[in-house]
């Protein structure tokens, strides 16, 4: 974890996302997208982390990520998701949802589809109308689901001009994030500490299930679903707490873990190694949660001089075999607390870390200090 590269980019970064690699390919992540916020002009940009084999002998830019292309974006980029290899969906603070298409041949990024008024407020006097920020978006080809400050849920199809389904007033408060649970069910989190499951097969404006934190209604800001066990869900709240939920049972979180000192902006399970979880926060920290079993050797690995490669392969193989037996390492409540190992990934605290994404051994995150951090050796 020593190889973490920072680059200052002169714009506050609100979102960072790896471009997915084609399934089944051996490629590693090499392109990511970023969105900016709170600038006079905001951009959606694509970056390349270049070729690992091409080490520059000068030691100059070998770890640096280079800008491939960008496109102007109206309003803050509130959320960003890759729809497929070429297309990126961006949610705007103007309530607009835009699909950008990347042309790899001439390295340009252009808007190819737009729903301009996906989210809006209707004022008390009915004709008055104002835009509402779209706060979250999630894609599952060909569907795109968006949520916003107006408490509305939209279901779009990429080839349809109009929304396929809209749930007005789905939530009385602001919806902060959305994710797919299992098609056609989605999961939303809101600013009064509730987790709601919606089933698009059901008509009407009611969620099929509501789960909530007890009493204090602490807003939830982010949500991610376990990649293999679809009932395991992680959320992050305004108080920086990490909550793990089992949506099959109960209406309360299975475990609450004290984490950051301020808003947790994003939480992500590692897509292929889900015993690992990553969170970032307004307090400027980025954490790696490791719930794989307590391998004694691991402590030596996290030492600075972990150069012994036999240790490395040993512990990795160990992890793989243990993984089978520990189906729900996140759900076993009490012992898990002892087992989870937390590492802070950023060298020193800065301003808020707004977003992160993991893919394979690579991690990217973006901050309000206008820096993008990339590492390609997460598990070394």
């Amino acid at each position: 974890m020593e190889e973490i590269y920072a680059k200052f980019v002169s714009q506050k970064i609100s979102k960072t996302r790896w471009r997915p690699v084609p399934s089944g390919s051996l490629q590693t992540a090499e392109t990511f997208a970023t969105g900016s916020w709170d600038n006079e002009e905001n951009y959606v940009s694509l970056w390349s982390i270049g070729d690992l084999g091409n080490l520059d002998s000068d030691g100059g830019f070998e770890g640096d990520h280079q800008l491939l292309c960008g496109s102007r974006h109206y309003g803050d980029v509130m959320d960003l998701q890759f729809f497929d290899q070429e297309r990126i969906v961006a949610a705007s603070s103007t309530g607009c949802v835009t699909v950008f298409l990347h042309h790899p041949n001439n390295q340009t990024l252009t808007a190819c589809q737009q729903w301009a008024t996906a989210h809006y407020h209707t004022g008390p006097g009915s004709p008055s109308w104002s835009c509402a920020p779209c706060t979250g978006v999630v894609c599952n080809n060909p569907e795109i689901v968006t949520v916003g400050e107006d408490g509305r849920i939209n279901l779009f199809r990429v080839d349809h001009k109009e929304a396929v389904r809209t749930i007005d007033n789905a939530d009385s408060s602001t919806l902060h994030a959305v994710t797919f649970l299992r098609t056609p069910e989605i999961l939303t989190v809101n600013s009064i500490g509730q987790l709601k499951i919606w089933d698009f097969r059901q008509q009407g404006n009611e969620p099929s299930q509501i789960l909530s934190l007890t009493g204090d209604r602490v807003p939830l800001h982010c949500v991610d679903r376990h990649p293999n066990q679809q009932h395991v869900v992680a959320t992050g709240g305004q108080d920086g707490m990490l909550s793990i939920w089992d949506v099959r049972q109960g209406t309360m979180p299975v475990s609450l873990l004290k984490a950051h000192e301020a808003e947790m902006w994003e939480v992500h399970f590692h897509p292929s190694n889900p015993d690992h979880l990553f969170t970032c926060s307004e307090d400027g920290s980025l954490w790696h949660w490791d719930a794989s079993t307590d391998v004694p050797e691991k402590s030596s690995l996290f030492h600075q001089g972990g150069r012994n490669s036999t240790f490395l392969s040993h512990s990795i193989s160990n992890q793989a075999s243990v993984h089978q037996s520990l189906i729900s390492s996140w759900l076993s409540t009490d012992p898990a607390k002892d087992r989870i190992e937390i590492t802070s990934l950023l060298p020193n605290r800065t301003l808020s870390v707004n977003s992160l994404d993991v893919l394979g051994p690579c991690l990217v995150c973006g901050t309000d200090a206008e820096a993008i951090y990339v590492t390609r050796q997460l598990f070394s």
């Binding site: 714009q11 706060t135 509730q194 206008e370």
Partner: protein, 656 residues
Amino acid sequence: MEELDGEPVVTSIPGVNSKKKQMCFDWGPGEMLVCETSFSKQGKSETVPGCPFIFIIRKDIDVYSQILRKLFNESHGIFVGLQRMEEDLTGKSRKAQLVRVSKNYRSVIRACMEEMHQVAIAAKDPASGHQFSSQISILSAMELIWNLCEILFIEVAPAGPLLLHLLDWVRLHVCEVDSLLADVLGSESPSRHESFWKLVTILVLQGRLDEARQMLSKEADASPTSAGMCRTLGDLMRTMPILSPGNTQTLTELELKWQHWHEECERHLQDGTFAPSPHLESLCKIMLGDEAALLEQKELLSNWYHFLVTRLLYSHPTVKPIDLHFYAQSSLDLFLGGESSPEPLDNILMAAFEFDIHQVIKECSIALSNWWFVAHLTDLLDHCKLLQSHNLYFGSNMREFLLLEYASGLFAHHSLWQLGVDYFDHCPELGRVSLEMHIERIPLSTEQKALKVLRICEQRQMTEQVRSICKILAMKAVRNNRLGSALSWSIRAKDAAFATLVSDRFLRDYCERGCFSDLDLIDNLGPAMMLSDRLTFLGKYREFHRLYGDKRFVDAASLLLSLMTSQIAPRSFWMTLLTDALPLLEQKQVIFSADQTYELLRCLEDLTSGRPAHGEPDPLQLQDDDIETTKVEMLRLSLARNLARAIVKEGSLEGS
């Protein structure tokens, strides 16, 4: 008041004719608004429209440079790290820390310079290219000054090492030689290269004697006639005593050795060893510190401080810090030779050589176009405990004054305001009030941004600002018909009055539509319900509906009654509550006890007896009154029947 340090700079505003019209202005925290008035110079009001614009005048324009943003962001991290530096670190480790911080700042400046350089090369139109190169020269001057301050004030190098540091300083900033070196060495026969002697001279001037010696050996190989001379001079270069970092020899030893070496050089010159070759002879003279010979190389030295350092190297290698200003002044005078007057940069460097920190900072403030440099340098020097005695005649000390200026500039910027917060935090006297003033002016475009601002305020216990932000958001939500949001914001702000207002809206909507909206919020109010009476009522009333829906009629009935008897329910709502009691009264089994029914009756009488006292009857009201009267009659009937049933039931129960 102190006198002015220079003429104030005149900024002309395009389109505004200040000769004809009077202007008006208003100060903002970091900027100024200016516009034309309709008054002419003579004071007569004219109707002729002048300039239709209001101008925003900003003083710290560098804040708006895209590339300098990286400087601001990266140095912010260093600044925060420096403030957190352990106070208990003392002596060597503290100094080492401070030097490292200083070097970090400089490397950020250099990184910016490099990037600016690349952009300048890539710039297509000459105007912007020119702009970039002027910014590069500013950055490079900043780095030059900072580096010198680092050597003199932070490193506080003693005699001996001082000169080594100064040499590094000059080598770092007069760096054309490296490309020349590569150029010459890359040619087929280096010694025949047209710039060969120029290169060797520069190397000697910069004290890079090893490299100079290698070049000389190339010349020796190429021309056998001068081989002997080259070797002799090379030996002189090799034997020049210098202080090396790892060496333990004392200064006196060094001075003695150096004296011997110097005499040897002198002897060679007098013997005419190098007389056949003017190049070699002039090199030898340079190595003797001969001022005339040095001044002949004015072109190659390019500036007086290079001249100063070379002169010190070859004539006073163990110069003491205290004597520096004397040599600096004479070097400056000799170098300029009365032909030109010193420029701002020269004055700043001279002030540094004189160890006059305040003069350095003052001159820099006047000469540079941004506050970044002086603010950070002053802060660092303050951490070196060099500025404590100095207080300004207004407000706070100099460090704080400069930090406040810089942070205000950041707050004036659309996106850099977040950086400014930490700077205000480290201004003990006026930082807090400045932050309070600025933070309220941040536009809250999205809830996410508002949350970030809120977090800043909450972390600093700025309750007034927290309340005001929540209120703004609650108002916004009400305007957008988002009552649920509005209610959560007023709960967060603990704003009872606003919570009452929103609750009333909820109740009104209920009366109009007959059903509640935003149940997910109202059902989960929890202890927050206690914020205001109206909110409590809203929550309890909803609870009544839930009990009723669950067919828990007895609980529902007593809750309903208690809402009225405990006076939580507003009078205006009593009729609705009584109407809600109707279906309960009409149930098959008796729900309201006799006592409860009496209570209900009293509520109804309270309500109806108070009624005729107010209001002029109008047709619409009359119609309403009609409905009302029917309702009251129905209620009375139901209550009477219920009372009868309840008395019978209670009587029979007691009897049995």
